[in-house]
Symmetry: C2
DNA sequence: ATACGATTCAAACAGTCGTCTGAACCAGCC
DNA sequence: GGCTGGTTCAGACGACTGTTTGAATCGTAT
């Protein structure tokens, strides 16, 4: 029970500061003074600034992704042999990460800002982290969505899932609350419900590849 | 004709580097060596790093917002007394900024990454920039969307517009291409069409405030 | 009590940061 | 010619960066 306190205090402080000022905009000295620990403690526990980012990221994302898979399994099991319900699949993807916003009281806002920001940092470290953490998730959810939406091509599902991720991460950053304080943003369960409604309707839109003048492509409708 | 070359070379180099490494992750020395100018030239022409960011941002966003308003005017004029077409309103909002991706050949990708990144930087400078540049735009488009979607409350339209902005900016960053190179992302006109299809269907979803068990709120339907 | 591994500490390393200075340069005008 | 205002230059300012060191400290098992 010697280290974990220091180690977690560092991670939490880094999470706070990264979410406020970004990775490059946060110095290790900021982190240590926020955490109330010595500067060398970071090097001792993590070795490098990149490794600290990795620790901050994985601490939160791993349970999120685990829960995502659980919920997806449940949705697929509930559907039996038929395709799972679209709303259930989207909720399995969105709910665990949005829940963090309320589950970890106080830290929730911090974390959601952090993850939203991560999604738009093209740093090499972040890229590798995303690849490691999301490859399996994406494959599983793509497969489920293909079953839900047999009229859509695979490429189009990928694209719409990207739009969904964009809407989600932007909602997590919650920039809009700072720009338009008149319209308070929904949180927790409300935000989740609104996002699912929004994206489910969007996914069900006819194929944009053949929107106006052609029939929807038939591809994969017989597979 | 003495300065503009240096000044624009600085802005372009800064745009490139900001989009690649972020604002905090880019040093002024990186900018000057990329632009092939002296370090003090930045101080001479812009005064400060924040002011440089401001110049980079406004150079591109002002014509975009101008075009947005033009297209919105056209959509409203085409509809006469009736509410403008939802797709036309969304296209007016999305098209000008997506067009940049192909209009400025080569620089397009750079700029779109930059703007996508900006949307998730909670820096104070960025916040003020956004407020300055987007307040009028948002008010105009909110008003138009309220006319298109009388069954939705104002707060809900604001929220869905935020989801739309999220999907747009994430598509501009185009992180997904780096994570999933197997599925090449659409560009230009295709991306625009897909986004409009996606978001139009999403906006038309019944109110999430009363999705399953209540009737949609009536608010603003008579105003 | 003593020794040991784990942890924390103050201090410094070589670079880089944004900003600023004062001299050099270069046009065009007297 | 000389002069002026706008522009560029090399160089430096102090502050801050990520990383590293070696000694000091801690709890624990011997």
């Amino acid at each position: 029970m010697s280290t974990p306190d220091t180690k977690n205090r560092i991670i939490s402080a880094a999470e706070t500061l990264f979410s406020q000022h970004g990775f490059a905009g946060t110095s290790l000295r900021n982190v240590t003074s926020e955490a109330g620990v010595n500067l060398a403690a970071i090097h001792y526990h993590f070795g490098t600034k990149d490794a600290l980012l990795r620790a901050v990221f994985t601490r939160r994302i791993e349970p999120v992704n685990q829960r995502r898979l659980e919920m997806l399994d449940a949705a697929e099991a509930a559907a039996g042999d038929r395709a799972p319900e679209l709303e259930a699949v989207l909720e399995a993807f969105l709910s665990p990460i949005i829940d963090l916003k309320r589950d970890i009281e106080g830290e929730g806002i911090v974390w959601s800002r952090f993850i939203g920001r991560i999604y738009s940092e093209p740093t090499e470290v972040v890229e590798n982290l995303m690849r490691e953490q999301f490859d399996e998730i994406l494959q599983r959810f793509l497969h489920a969505l293909e079953r839900c939406l047999p009229d859509l091509g695979e490429a189009e599902i990928v694209e719409r899932l990207q739009f969904t991720i964009g809407a989600m991460s932007h909602a997590l950053v919650d920039l809009h609350q700072r720009l338009m304080p008149d319209y308070p943003s929904a949180t927790g369960a409300d935000l989740l419900q609104h996002l699912v409604t929004f994206t489910a309707a969007a996914f069900r839109a006819p194929s944009a590849y053949a929107c106006q003048d052609r029939h929807p492509e038939r591809r994969a409708s017989a597979s």
